[in-house]
Amino acid sequence: MSKGTGIGGTFMVSMMALACAVIVAMVAIIIGNILLHGAGGISWEFLSRAPEAGMTRGGIFPAIFGTAALVILMTIAVIPLGVATAVYMHEYAPKRSRMIGLVRLAIQNLAGVPAIVFGLFGYVFFTKFVGAAIDRGLYGGELVYGQPAIVWAALTMALLTLPTVVVATEEALRAIPQSYREAAYALGATRWQMIRRVVLPQATGGILTGGILAVSRGSGEVAPVMFTGAAYFLPELPRRLHDQFMELGYHVYVMTTQSIDVEATKPVLYSTVLVLLMLTFLLNFTAIMIRSRIRRRLRHDR
């Protein structure tokens, strides 16, 4: 600090440092609190059994299973779609074309649409429109797909996570040196051969990052699956595409707000939150590690 700013400047800078400290403290307090109260209840039993006694005892296995099934279905839908979109923007569309601008705008705005709006859309489009149409066409009007189901929840979630996959894949595509593509063309490859044999294998890391981030987002979001397939409690695991399912995040919401006995639910609740938090944390951590490796490569190549 020099020349005349003295106390005022020093004060402002320390206030800004304080802001940083406050943010770090908030994160530390949240994670610390949940670890402190939740770690004790986690055991193999807790992870492998169903809720018992009005969710005050037992485990969360159905919720873990449902979440896993949901994100697997979601991944099957979102990865091909997201990767194709990114490949189109980076490899097919002419630079600065109108189409590319429109797709980018759509992706950016899709990322900003509130989760609850996705929930509304999934409910009215997938269950009431697509599902009902399938029922009319294939099941003679019997109610099979025209109601909340895991497949609709997964597709809704896929829309929500599409921007994540597109952005991560695009970043990876950008990191591939142009000379690789030119070499493939020089050997007589068509554009598709070049993409399949050169670009996509090189972009695996980015696609993986996007996929993991999407899974992390998808396993924690509640609002989009509330009306499209998540259930309060189910005695059985989902086995068919049109079954309902239990989800970790929704389970947390249900136990927090609709518990008969809050104090009795508390230990189980804290442990469930800890499981959800650790799951998203580990996924994010893995994705960030892969991403930072890609970024390092990008820097080396330029």
Partner: protein
């Protein structure tokens, strides 16, 4: 087996062997190109479908006679007589003998919670971003950035849970409020969801200010703080604006945190210590029990359409300011 087959037919098949793979590759190329184009197009289609399908369910509020018996725009916006015959008022009471759909309590609630969240999050996040880009020693940066990433990765239902279980008690203990769950509790929780977005966009803006700006300022004898506050900050103003718009958009649409921590009572009040009900929480809490196709159902989709359009505009504004920042800095350096 394969070798034998190739050998036996080699003479006659010769021309085709040369021709076929090439044709196949060309065909695959054309098919792939169409498929990929179609997938990219789907992103645009999805956005349009969201608009059309939510709009389609919201529209009967304006057009359907059936729905008008219970709700129309006037009844959503103007004061309505109370069921007991008392003074006209604004009430959100969709499940009752004479359902009342005044949006004012919900609008006020949304505004209140969102304002609290934004008022906490924006100063904190922008200050932290400026500090990180201008002053912070590498160690601070290495702690803060992962923290922001972790915060961004915490599911909103976990933040909602934390507010309901812990923050609510703290705030009640400090201020002695009657209700545990209120606008302040939800606002504090919501700010946790907004901070990562504002921080990331603002920090991007500050770091994209060319180094020459800072060097020029320092060379003229300005201090580090003067440089940060009078050169870097003004240069990055469009980026900071973008951060505010995107943060505001996130706050207004966030559902789980307000659903769990706001108390969900549709009261008209300016006090942060009263319970509130927001647009997003109303949809989440009521759509599960609503009769498909009823007036109530269409009103909820109307709220959804409002949220969609409003966040859409905020996002466009945010992106527009990002572009303005890039133009400004590229033109200036």
């Amino acid at each position: 087996m394969r070798d034998g087959g190739v050998l036996s037919g080699s003479r006659q098949m010769n021309t085709q062997v040369v021709q076929r793979p090439w044709k196949k590759a060309a065909l695959a190329d054309r098919v792939a190109s169409h498929v990929i184009r179609f997938c990219a197009f789907l992103a645009i289609v999805a956005l349009i479908l969201i608009f059309v399908f939510i709009g389609r369910e919201a529209l009967p509020l304006l057009t359907s006679q059936e729905v008008h018996k219970e709700a129309d725009l006037a009844r959503l916006l103007l004061p309505q007589p109370a069921s007991s015959g008392g003074a006209a008022g604004f009430t959100w009471q969709p499940v009752s003998q004479t359902p009342k759909y005044s949006l004012l309590p919900l609008f006020l609630g949304t505004l209140k919670v969102t304002s609290i969240a934004v008022l906490i999050a924006i100063p904190l996040a922008v200050a932290a971003a400026l500090y990180t880009s201008e002053f912070a020693p590498p160690l601070v940066r290495e702690v803060l950035k992962p923290c922001i990433e972790i915060l961004a990765g915490i599911p909103s239902v976990v933040i909602g849970f934390f507010c309901l279980m812990v923050v609510a008690d703290w705030l009640q203990g400090v201020f002695g409020w009657t209700y545990r769950l209120n606008a302040m509790t939800a606002g504090v929780g919501l700010s946790l969801a907004v901070i990562p977005i504002v921080f990331t966009v603002a920090e991007d803006a500050f770091t994209s200010v060319p180094q020459a700006f800072r060097e020029g300022s320092l060379a003229m004898g300005a201090s580090a703080w003067q440089t940060a506050s009078r050169v870097v900050l003004p240069a990055a103003v469009p980026g900071v604006l973008a951060a505010c718009f995107l943060g505001f958009g996130r706050a207004i649409g966030e559902t789980m945190i307000v659903l769990m921590a706001s108390g969900n009572a549709a009261i008209i009040s300016w006090l942060p210590s009263d319970a509130v009900r927001t647009f997003s929480a109303t949809i989440a809490a009521e759509l599960g029990e609503v009769v498909f196709g009823s007036a109530h159902y269409h009103v909820l989709f109307f709220l959804g359409a409002f949220l969609f359009v409003f966040t859409f505009v905020l996002n466009l504004l945010g992106r527009w300011w990002v572009v303005q920042l890039q133009k400004r800095l590229q033109g200036g350096s």
